[in-house]
């Protein structure tokens, strides 16, 4: 009994969950309508994106609008890796390598963007990160080696339900343990009051860069999963509208709430599909619902709370 409690406290449940994912994925792929399966996979990818942006925006309070850019870097870098570096590698190995490449490439970009951008505050940071995201997109658009304006074709389809949800669980567990640790208090402190945090001895620049790099890492990973699930990527999937979509998930979930971001990712991925009955009125209803949700719950669905208590 004691041993079980010990395991639970040390997040054994995610490990068990992880092991269950592949059989579950296999079962779903066998019996579930592919359309529903695709929505499930999109939910998983959007959860990773929302939770990772939540670390930057919601928890550290750094207003970033460039998340789609990091996602694009992860998607293109990893796709280039699986296509050119080692074609014909075993699937699992190739995807693992791709995930590492995508994540690292994006986190490098995050570091590269984060260091100069952190001189900026608030909305200036927002618009600068938006700019970086757009620059990344235009540069990719003009790079013929990865398809340029035609898009990148023929990426091996390696990612599956199991992989996406395994990454999602890892992402959530890692960020949860990071921000609700003693050190994690520093992120919240920066959000609440940067000057006070600095006065209390928090190395604000260091923590902001950590948030940017880790957030970008997971965005890149999500990009990699996206690329290897669809098999075709185009820069149109990574415009600033995608960044805004992720931002909406973070704010709707409740700025700073990890489980809130996950919940909002589910709602905002499912909602447009559910509204398909509305045909051409679908997106109109969607936008009205978005406004109505925000008006009725101005601090987001979860506020700053978590669905399960953090402690």
């Amino acid at each position: 009994m004691h041993a079980l409690k010990h395991l639970a406290r040390n997040n054994a449940s995610p490990v068990i969950l992880l092991l269950c994912l592949w059989p579950l994925g296999a079962a779903l792929e066998r019996w579930l309508n592919p359309y529903y399966l695709q929505i499930l996979v999109y939910i998983g990818i959007n959860m990773i994106l929302a939770v990772s942006l939540n670390l930057i925006n919601g928890i550290t309070g750094q207003f970033s609008l460039g998340h789609a850019g990091f996602m694009a870097i992860g998607a293109y870098a990893s796709a280039a890796g699986t296509m050119f570096a080692w074609p014909g590698a075993p699937a699992a190995l190739a995807l693992l390598a791709a995930l590492v490449i995508g994540g690292l490439a994006a986190s490098l970009a995050g570091l590269f963007v984060g260091v100069p951008a952190l001189r900026l505050r608030g909305d200036y940071l927002a618009i600068a990160t938006l700019g970086f995201g757009e620059i990344i997109r235009v540069v990719i658009l003009n790079t013929e080696a990865v398809g340029g304006a035609r898009g990148f074709f023929g990426i091996p389809v390696l990612a599956s339900f199991g992989w996406v949800y395994a990454c999602m669980v890892l992402c959530v567990v890692m960020l949860w343990r990071l921000v609700y640790s003693t050190k994690g208090k520093a992120f919240f402190a920066i959000r609440e009051d940067e000057i006070a945090a600095a006065a209390m001895g928090v190395d604000t620049t260091r923590y902001k860069i950590i948030a940017f790099t880790i957030g970008a890492f997971w965005a890149g990973l999500a990009g990699c999963l996206f690329a290897h699930f669809i098999g075709y990527i185009h820069t149109n999937s990574f415009t600033f509208l995608k960044s805004i979509e992720i931002l909406v998930m973070v704010v709707l979930g409740g700025t700073g709430s990890i489980t809130g971001a996950m919940l909002a990712a589910v709602i905002l991925t499912v909602l447009p599909e559910v509204l398909r009955f509305g045909a051409e009125y679908r997106m109109i209803i969607y936008s009205v619902l978005l406004i109505a949700l925000m008006l009725t719950r101005p601090t987001g669905l979860m506020g700053t709370r978590e669905i399960v208590p953090a402690r």
Binding site: D123, Y124, I127, V138, I195, S287, L290
Partner: protein
């Protein structure tokens, strides 16, 4: 050299459109500290309204300067109402709530206008009627200055002067400046903050509508998504000049228009969108509050 001057003319005309939109962003940001994502779509509605007014009231068949001015003013009035309505429904209920929630309703309104626009106006591009017959006023060497270019530049200039007059010389303008300085203090001084914020939205939306009507003269193809990129670029222009700062928005808009035109002409049109952002980041790195922005000292 000829091409340089020609591109400069095009850039200035395009830049004054950006400047008009950027002014709206800057004004709203000044009073509410809100990035009004719906502003670019108000500009689209401005162009669409002008299109319909021109057709319904028969200005489309008879090009004339007064006709165009009537169309533009009518479209400005319509969008002023729209702007006030957006503020009333989507932003006013969130006063005093976290700023990010207003940002999301702004995104919601923007999507509503885009998708609603596709439903109401139809998703296909429309061709803006030729309200003014374009002819060249001045041609030296390879440089041509058309009356449309001149009109766009002069009209924008006139609107900017009018705006400056409103903001600096009238009671409403004084109240507007007071509200953007301090919300609470101006409320204590007896200023009706809600009225002033609504007025700000009306002024900003009217300017965007004017930009929409004028862009129809130069680039006649208008569609419900036309506000997307100009909207975001005008915001970048406002930040470039120092957000909340009126001359900054104009300077930023002109700089943006001229640079984009030059990049499209001399480098490649695919890089056009990126260069605007490269300039922005370069400026922000050396001057984090924009060209004319004031450095605010954070009080502890």
């Amino acid at each position: 050299m000829d091409q340089f001057l020609q591109q400069l003319v095009n850039g200035l005309a395009w830049g004054s459109i950006y400047a008009l939109i950027a002014l709206g962003y800057t004004m709203v940001y000044g009073v509410l500290r809100l990035i009004n994502f719906a502003h670019g779509d108000v500009y689209m509605v401005g162009a669409m309204t002008a299109y319909y007014i021109a057709h319904w009231f028969g200005f489309a068949g008879a090009p004339s300067l007064p006709g165009f001015l009537v169309v533009m003013l009518a479209s400005m009035a319509t969008c002023a109402v729209l702007g006030a309505l957006i503020e009333l429904v989507a932003y006013r209920p969130l006063r005093g709530q976290p700023r990010s929630s207003m940002l999301i309703t702004a995104i919601g309104v923007s999507m509503l206008l885009e998708f609603g626009g596709q439903r109401v106006f139809g998703p296909d591009p429309k061709f803006f009627p030729q309200l003014i017959e374009s002819h060249s006023l001045f041609a030296a060497g390879g440089v041509v200055l058309t009356n449309v270019d001149l009109l766009v530049i002069l009209c924008s200039l006139g609107l900017m002067v009018a705006l400056r007059w409103v903001v600096m010389r009238t009671r409403i303008g004084m109240a507007l400046r007071a509200v953007s300085f301090s919300f609470d203090a101006s409320a204590l001084m007896g200023i009706n903050v809600n009225t002033i914020i609504a007025t700000t939205f009306m002024l900003g939306s009217a300017l965007a509508a004017a930009a929409g009507a004028m862009v129809g003269l130069r680039n006649p193809k208008i569609d419900p998504l036309m506000g997307l990129m100009p909207g975001i670029k005008a915001f970048v222009a406002a930040v470039l000049g120092g957000i909340g700062n009126f001359p900054g928005a104009v300077a930023g808009g002109l700089l943006m228009g001229v640079t984009e035109t030059f990049v499209a002409a001399y480098l490649s049109s695919t890089y056009r969108d990126a260069v605007a952002f490269v300039i922005l980041i370069a400026v922000l790195l050396f001057k984090p509050t924009g060209i004319f922005g004031k450095v605010t000292v954070e009080k502890v």
